[in-house]
């Protein structure tokens, strides 16, 4: 019996096209977590993320005969999912803040606290994770989409450009500005955390 879990995406796609519907299950299992998390972080409501999950895999299944294989299956799927999620998002909140215009919050660089010294595993506790998820949720839609695809899902600049119909230069520019904003939030958080710790520490008295 063939072990389908070892087949590449392209091989599974070929099997589905050849009428082997069960092969689609492997593709779904391979990508459902990624698509669900992307949708959840874009839309925030679990029921909306579930809608996007279902719409994406249904639509991809129907469109599979037209899948040319010019891009990776994953990139193609992310494109479908992102489109569904953005349609849902824009249906609810039509305000679209474009990053191509300078904004008030693009402040000049401030003196940064160096929060890079502690081991990663020590700092990434549940409180920080919560803060980070909040910071993602607060990003404008265009920044959030680029950031999620590039830095959370780990796609390349050119894949993100393909998914969002942007130039690679536009992706890089949005990504950079988003990272700077998220760093500002983290720097603030670490400096407050440090101050709170210092105020709790017992004072040494002379004598």
């Amino acid at each position: 019996m063939r072990d389908s879990s070892k087949l590449t995406d392209f091989q599974l796609v070929d099997l589905v096209r050849g009428g082997e519907q069960a092969a689609y299950r492997h593709l779904v299992q391979r990508y459902e977590g990624k698509i669900y998390n992307l949708a959840l972080r874009l839309l925030r409501r679990p029921e909306d993320a579930e809608d996007v999950l279902q719409e994406t895999f249904l639509s991809a299944y129907r469109a599979l005969p037209n899948f040319k294989g010019d891009s990776q299956f994953g990139t193609w799927l992310y494109r479908i999912a992102t489109n569904f999620a953005l349609m849902k998002l824009r249906g609810k909140k039509p305000v679209f803040v474009s990053l191509d215009e300078p904004r008030d919050d693009d402040q000049p660089p401030v003196e940064l606290t160096d929060f890079s010294a502690d081991p990663l595993a020590d700092v990434l506790d549940s409180e920080l994770r919560h803060k980070m998820e909040e910071a993602i949720a607060k990003l404008p839609e265009d920044m959030r989409t680029v950031f999620l695809l590039r830095d959370i899902e780990g796609l390349s600049n050119s894949e993100v450009a393909e998914i969002l119909d942007l130039s690679v230069a536009a992706v890089k520019s949005r990504l950079h500005r988003t990272r700077l904003q998220l760093r500002r939030d983290l720097a603030r958080y670490f400096s407050e955390r440090e101050a709170a710790r210092a105020s709790r520490a017992p004072r040494t008295s002379k004598g």
Partner: protein
């Protein structure tokens, strides 16, 4: 290369997309500028932290409904 030049290339640098002479110049600046080193280190740390943020599992009942909609067996 000055601090402003470095600022413009921060993301490219941590993504290892700055190469050749420009990379050498940038690193020479970093060696002498503590402010820019903090810029690089904290931006890199930001990306590392977000890269490690855990993802949610697809809840069992969500997967069940997905497979039902797709007419697939789990």
């Amino acid at each position: 290369m000055n601090c402003l030049d470095v600022m413009g290339r921060l993301s490219d640098y941590i993504d290892q997309e700055v190469a050749g002479e420009v990379c050498k110049e940038l690193e020479a600046h970093l060696a002498t500028c503590p402010h820019c080193r903090i810029e690089v280190n904290t931006l890199r740390r930001t990306v590392e932290l977000y890269h490690r943020i855990p993802s949610s599992h697809v809840p069992g009942e969500v997967e069940e409904r997905l497979f039902k909609v797709l007419n697939l067996r789990r």
